[in-house]
Amino acid sequence: MSADTHRKPKKFVQDRDAVPWKGRYVPYDLAKEGLIALIVVIILVSGLAVLFGSPDDKPTTVRSWSNADAVGFATTAITELDGTSGTATYGPPYNLNGTTAGKLGPINPAKWLGVHHPIDTANDYVLGPLSTLPNQPQVQAAVDQYKAATPDQQATWNAAYEKAVADAKFVNGKLVVPAGDYGPVATLIAAETSMARSGALDGALLSSRQFYGTDYTKPLLFIADGDYFANLGSAQHLSGDQWGMMNETGQYPGQAWLWLYTLWYQVGPIGNSDNADIMVFAIMIGLTVLLALVPFIPGLRSIPRWTRVYRIIWRNHYREVEGPPSGPDPSGSPPQVEGNAREPVPV
């Protein structure tokens, strides 16, 4: 006697099981309908492309930023030098100076893999690029003086300059900062600003690695540290409280499918938290797992039956099986669905 004979018949669960279809089949031409769908999509997409095109706003460069807002650039540059910028205090994967990416209680996944894209903002954004400037002994001397100073001395110069740069002006192509004891820092930031405005800094931030560079991590993070870039984003309705990165420049739908991800940033307690990023990711990972595992979760998998939306989707079928709403056909035979009344392609 086989084990199968002892097996108890599995109880039929409506939200898990389905009865094999033994009813009528109707003809349909899958290839024809697939081709029609393709033609319709091509026409629709072509129409949208002709009518609306696609956005292509020019990227921000260090050059365009420093030319549009030299003082703002200098203000950011000093924070890179003194290690107080967003990038300088970010933490992994750029450095070990912070936990910008956030943590969930004791769980801090950002630290698990450590620093993979090291950025030392003082050297990578200011001192290093300035060292590459040819025929500028004054700048080279300032770099050497700054490097030779003690950390306390550097901090004193930086703090004084950072305070003064708030009142700085850009006059006749030169950065003018109120007089003060800034050591070599005033020379460094003035030279950095000139280098940025000439476009040389854009190249220096990339060429420190290799000729064919494709990694824009350093210049992008530098640009993102400044208010100029943030203001451009806000003007284009792209900031976090404007549903952020799911939008695009201009009036385009953008990544509308990220609405749920972006939604959580609009929820006060989450959006205002220092740990918003990891909280949102944790929520979305949880919801995604739930969505994938719906078939296994009692209650959740019953929602379709409870909501009865399926009655609309299969209304022709139920009309055929149950008869018209006014009552069953006196003849007793179920009404017939028209031979090929279906429109669909069941994929």
Binding site: D15, P20, K22, Y25, A110, D215, V321, R342
Partner: protein, 240 residues
Amino acid sequence: MTIVDPKAGRPDQADLDKAADRPEDAGQWTAKIRTTAVEALPPQKLLPDRQPAYVASWIYVFGVTTVAALIVVIATGFVLAIFGPNWWHVSSTGLFVNSLHLWSVEVFMFAMVVHLWGKFFMAAWRGKRKATWITGVVSFLVSVGAAFTGYLSQQNFDSQWISTQAKDGINSTGAGAIFNVTNFGQMIMWHIVLLPLCVVALVGLHVLMVRLRGVVTPFAAKNETPGEQPATTSGAEVPA
């Protein structure tokens, strides 16, 4: 004049069919794979010309629309790849192809989301279709990733903004150490090689699973008992 039989030298189909039954080939992997595949998905099941009568709703259109839009996405992406990432920034033709690519992605994602929610409200995982549902959800997730890396590969202000915003979320998971959204070279490789391969493979697998199990049957009607055969079984015409 010699008349040459065009079929001469070709194995007859009947011989090929018999080959699968040859005892000496029973242990051959190739024969086993072919036999299993043909048994699971014979041509009539793989490309059926009939469907159950209940397959009569516009919601079914969104599955094939998703596949159609994916074809347009890949075709336009192919053209963009031929000319390289700078082309569409400097050529009006390139910009138009990029626009086609963008809008086909929008149509693809829209159709896929409607398809997904349609299947949710049909509880389309019923009747041993759980794996079909899961491959559908995973296809959606991978498609989100493919579209996302596309936005990062545009080399314009949108790419800059999206990458510098998205880095925080990615970095919070630790994935930023490996998946660097501010690295254009890495993102474009993910966008045009890795993720499209995954999307096409997953969508292909998903469609095969739909064909394997068929379209899910409706819930029991009011005059039916759940778990029993539908009331309209008389005169059943089941395709071979």
